[in-house]
């Protein structure tokens, strides 16, 4: 029975990650064609002979044009900065919620989750209305006389960061809250009794003990943010370079599904590598712990 239960996540992983990954890998080794679907099959049966053609050219191509490397780097940079900002904003919020009275805690958690009741797309669209030239922010600033001409807030990197931080903040707060609320208050008392000031207590007790929440929250923000397409498309400027839009161009403008698949495969590797390293590092920490 136990073994069966363990199979569920494996089946999940296989069905929703490995199978699509294999399909992508297969397409990435193919060549584009004007056909339905728009690429050539890898295998060919002719007179009882099976021919398999693997085209590695798509991967070579990604290395030849610096655009792809720059897009990966730019995506990782935008995602990393957003994750950091989300952490800096989310940590105090999670901390405050965890320290609140139980009755109020439920209310505060509710407020964190509440935005999910509205479509993500509508919420990003709402930011357009807030940030645009004659939007709420600009009209208010003009009205109080802080500025003479509307600020360009939308179609900027600033708007992309704002959109990502706003959208993913709950994914940071919830895991942080989960670890912080389990924090044993007697440890903090012990630290105080031993003469530690609040800051020292935070740095030596609270922060290390909430590390799993920081890692989980950062992963939940960083990974989807790297591949983010919607937020930069709606709020970003034309010069916001992210791998999502490069993928879109390969898939739609060039109709080159093989190169698009190669871009996606490389992106998965770019994401999987740091995660694997991190997990190994964490595993070592775990072993070292008493």
């Amino acid at each position: 029975m136990r073994r069966l239960v363990a199979l569920v996540p494996l089946a999940w992983l296989g069905l929703f990650f490995l199978v699509p990954f294999a399909v992508l890998l297969k397409i990435s080794l193919s060549e584009p064609a004007i056909a339905q679907p728009p690429f050539l099959p890898l295998t060919d049966w002719a007179e009882g002979v099976l021919t398999i053609t693997l085209n590695l050219g798509n991967y070579v191509f990604l290395g030849q044009d610096p655009l792809y490397l720059l897009s990966y780097l730019s995506s990782v940079r935008i995602a990393a900065v957003s994750t950091l900002i989300t952490l800096l904003i989310g940590y105090p919020m999670a901390y405050a919620i965890a320290r609140a009275r139980p009755a109020r805690r439920t209310l505060l958690l509710m407020l964190v989750i509440l935005p999910f009741w509205t479509s993500f797309l509508l919420r990003v669209y709402a930011w357009i209305g807030i940030l645009k030239g004659n939007g709420i922010v600009n009209n208010f600033l003009l009205w109080i006389g802080a500025i003479d001409a509307p600020l360009v807030l939308i179609q900027t990197d600033f708007a992309v960061y704002l959109g990502i931080v706003y959208t993913y903040l709950p994914f940071m707060i919830l895991p942080l809250y989960a670890t912080l609320s389990r924090l044993d208050a007697s440890l903090l008392e012990a630290a105080a009794d031993l003469g530690a000031r609040p800051l020292t207590t935070f740095a030596t007790v609270t922060l290390p003990m909430s590390w799993p929440g920081i890692v989980a929250g950062s992963m939940l923000v960083f990974i989807p943010a790297v591949g983010e397409y919607v937020i930069p498309a709606l709020l970003g400027g034309p010069d916001t370079l992210m791998i999502g839009s490069v993928l879109w161009n390969e898939f739609f403008l060039n109709r080159d599904w093989p190169v698009a698949s190669a871009v996606a495969i490389v992106m998965v590797l770019v994401l999987a590598l740091p995660i694997a390293l991190l997990r190994r590092a964490q595993g070592r920490d775990g072993d070292a712990a008493p």
Binding site: L121, K132, Q155, A233, L253
Partner: protein, 360 residues
């Protein structure tokens, strides 16, 4: 054209209902139909319509090439339709099921047959041009002496710089904007020559710092609200912005003219996918659409010209006499149509377009 979010969502959209007996799954451009077109069809035929919209030919193409879309009727632009037809994704139009086919203008059928031999797969839905539309007051204030009937209004870097603060938008459509740039430079707008592309990109690079955004549908609202002052876009979309601005009564006046240098003349074509669940309903819709009063009502609503000769007299004067919608003979002579690109050219074009937009 690319990268429009609503379009991206539509990829995920599946026709609302499976094609039961007596329903039509119709996939059309956004803002491209009259209020009563579908209800009229449902009342006349008893066929329910599931209506989905897109704002990008590329999205339609990706879906067509994937197959099993569930749609019975789709409206790609002619040059895209030509390539999709090569991939074998459409079924021939059965003209015997369309008694109103004779209403179509034979001259237009002849022009589109250059990309659809024998008019086999497509029936013209509406015609459009690609040109600059602008906010009259904002542009005249900044450029009192500029020639408003010329592409130089946007392609001249000095003009573009003067308009940068009130906002310029370009279609996020490398093929259409590059063709306009080539035409402005006096080169063949359908050229696939690398040197020509370089020249066009040089021209566009010159105005790039003054472009606020590239998008294929957002400019309708932004023009109407005065959030931008110039958009290179689809004729009817700009005229819809003009109409919305006039209705809002905020004093925003939008103008669209086909520039003296000429512009791209495009055709959107009704096609029936090879795997359409209900091709009979699609034929019935085409026949319904080709009734003069139905076509005319759509032209009146969306400000695009149609190919239905019998409908011309029924189109309102405001639309029929607008040279931006029904171009006069001498303008028509300067207009050009697009051809399907080779895969190699599409790759260089997309690469150049990315470089233009991102600087990379």
């Amino acid at each position: 054209m690319i990268r429009t979010f609503p379009a991206a969502l539509m990829i995920l959209a599946v026709p609302a209902a499976a094609a039961a007996q007596g329903s039509l799954n119709f996939y059309n451009w956004s803002d491209y139909i009259a209020d009563d077109t579908l209800s009229g069809f449902e009342a006349e035929t008893g066929i329910d319509v599931n209506y989905d919209v897109f704002d990008s030919n590329e999205v339609v193409e990706a879906r067509m090439l994937t197959g099993s879309t569930g749609y019975d009727l789709v409206v790609p632009s002619l040059e895209f339709m030509a390539r999709q037809a090569q991939a074998g994704v459409f079924q021939p139009i059965d003209k015997s099921q369309i008694p109103n086919y004779d209403n179509l203008d034979p001259e237009i059928l002849r022009i589109v047959s250059a990309n659809d031999e024998g008019n086999t797969y497509g029936v013209p839905y509406m015609m459009y041009s690609v040109g600059p539309g602008y906010n009259v007051a904002m542009v005249e204030e900044r450029l009192p002496d500029a020639d408003m009937d010329s592409w130089s209004l946007v392609f001249d870097p000095d003009n573009a710089a003067a308009l940068a603060d009130c906002g310029i938008a370009l279609l996020d459509s490398p093929s259409e904007i590059t063709a306009a740039a080539l035409n402005y430079l006096g080169l063949d707008p359908t050229s696939e020559d690398a040197g020509d592309l370089e020249q066009a990109m040089e021209l566009l690079q010159g105005i790039r710092p003054h472009i606020r955004y590239f998008h294929s549908s957002q400019y309708i609202n932004d023009l109407a609200n005065g959030d931008i002052c110039l958009a290179v876009g689809y004729s009817g979309d700009i005229l819809q912005a003009k109409d919305r601005a006039a209705e809002a009564g905020q004093g925003v006046e939008i103008r669209y003219t086909i520039p003296a240098e000429g512009a791209q003349l495009g055709f959107d074509m009704m096609v029936i996918p090879a795997d359409a669940p209900n091709p009979e309903a699609a034929h019935q819709f085409i026949n319904y659409f080709l009734q003069p009063q139905v076509t005319a009502a759509i032209s009146d609503a969306v400000f695009y010209a149609n190919a239905n000769k019998a409908a011309t007299d029924l189109v309102s004067d405001e639309v029929r006499t607008d040279p931006g919608i029904y171009p006069p003979e001498e303008t028509l002579a300067k207009m050009y149509s697009a051809k399907p690109h080779s895969a190699r050219y599409d790759r260089s074009l997309t690469r150049a377009w990315t470089a233009l937009k991102t600087g990379q």
